[in-house]
């Protein structure tokens, strides 16, 4: 593929943004720059013929991660009694060190770049094999096929990671998985109105993404992230909303994505059939089922994660920030 002017502009911009994002004096600016950076990166994905990734990057890498950062920053600042000005630069006399480090970093970068230049120009990778096996996979989108069938094992573990992280966040706050409660907060009317329109739309989009994932860019993660976005907006907006469900139901929802994937994988196993080896006639349905359940899990998990790092998860009776537990 030949290079065009857009690429030539985009690449330095990305580098510049990354640079500026980290060194911006105000953390809020940094985070905003990060979100912009994410959006631009998804443009780059598009340039690189990776629409699936672009979508995920936009929804998860940029928006959701940005939301996490924002939530976290907001929480920390609201808890800070007196504002300590963050020193961005390290202490005095560190110029020399900075130079030295930069030299090292640059040499590492050059080594890596130099080696990239020695790469073969044309590597087929596994494209052909995937193309030929695609028919048997039950989906048309090669990326989805890889994710959910050829390398479904990776995805299973990835779901595991998500589940693990939500357990970890609960563990971190040393609370039982409980409903997320919203502290009474003045919600802006505009936001509420906006949400009224947005929510059904986003749910729709999410379903679309889920459905389309079989043959076009889209899938469980994108859809789940979409739904999570709704939840996060509601949280941030202070809209009265809580998972008023029994504890076990909540747990069940967390588990369902990973658990169903695991059980289906184990369920199809037997005799000559290996783990995660879907029967051909069922593979499409099974993949859809997995994706559907995963979407639900993912959305709840992501919302919980957001809640976990922006102070919505209530740990203990007091919110004063004292640490509970045994201090060493």
């Amino acid at each position: 593929m030949n290079i065009n002017i857009f690429d030539l502009l985009l690449a330095p911009t990305l580098i510049f943004l990354a640079w500026q994002m980290l060194r911006a004096r105000d953390l809020l600016v940094s985070i905003v720059l990060f979100i912009i950076f994410g959006v631009l990166v998804s443009l780059a994905w598009v340039q690189l013929q990776a629409p699936d990734i672009a979508l995920v990057e936009a929804v998860i890498g940029s928006a959701l991660t940005g939301a996490l950062f924002l939530g976290c920053l907001g929480h920390m600042e609201s808890h800070r009694k007196k504002i300590v000005i963050e020193k961005i630069k390290i202490s005095k006399g560190s110029k020399v060190y900075d130079c030295f480090l930069s030299v090292l970093v640059i040499s590492m970068g050059s080594i890596l770049s130099w080696s990239v230049l020695t790469l073969p120009k044309n590597v087929l990778g596994l494209t052909d094999k995937i193309q030929s096996a695609l028919a048997k996979s039950g989906v048309e989108n090669p990326v989805t096929a890889v994710i959910l069938n050829f390398r479904g094992y990776d995805t299973l573990l990835e779901m595991g990671v998500l589940f693990l992280v939500v357990v970890s966040v609960y563990a971190l706050h040393a609370i039982e998985p409980v409903s997320i409660k919203i502290q009474p907060r003045q919600a802006s009317r505009v936001l509420i109105a906006f949400l009224h329109i947005l929510t059904p739309l986003m749910i729709l989009v999410a379903f679309y993404l889920l459905l389309v994932g079989g043959h076009a860019p889209g899938g469980a993660f994108q859809a789940g992230a979409m739904l999570a976005g709704v939840g996060i907006l509601m949280l941030v907006g202070g809209v009265a909303f809580s998972f008023n469900v029994e504890r076990w139901v909540l747990r069940f929802i967390y588990v369902i994505g990973f658990g169903s994937f695991l059980l289906i994988g184990l369920g199809v196993m037997g005799g000559e059939r290996n783990f995660l080896e879907y029967p051909e006639y069922l593979s499409k349905k099974l993949i859809f089922l997995i994706e559907f359940l995963a979407t639900i899990s993912i959305s709840f998990i992501l919302v919980t994660l957001f809640a976990g790092c922006s102070g919505f998860l209530n740990y203990g009776k007091s919110n004063s920030g004292t640490v509970r537990g045994v201090s060493a």
Binding site: I130, E158, L302
Partner: protein
Amino acid sequence: MSTAILYSITGIIIFTVGLRGLVIYTHFLRKVLAINVMGTGIFMFLIALANRNSNGMPDPIPHAMVLTGIVVAVSATAFILALVVRLHAATGHTSFEAIHNDDRGAKL
């Protein structure tokens, strides 16, 4: 020079920028941002080089890898931010140095 090379080298540079940031910036959030930047650099490297096919079709395997990678990255970010929040709540500080200076003498 092809797009693949351009973006892969861009990815490498972004990675190194992130690495430098991780080392020299002290605020937890900046460090997390740096980690994310590094990750994005690596993803870009992968995706860029997946795009070297003569037939114009990109290799879906790196795509899948990156997809997984992004999800792992967001999980990690969420987790570490939760940690940072707790640490901030407990100590009121947002960097290792600050906590360390605060507790000089105490064993950490």
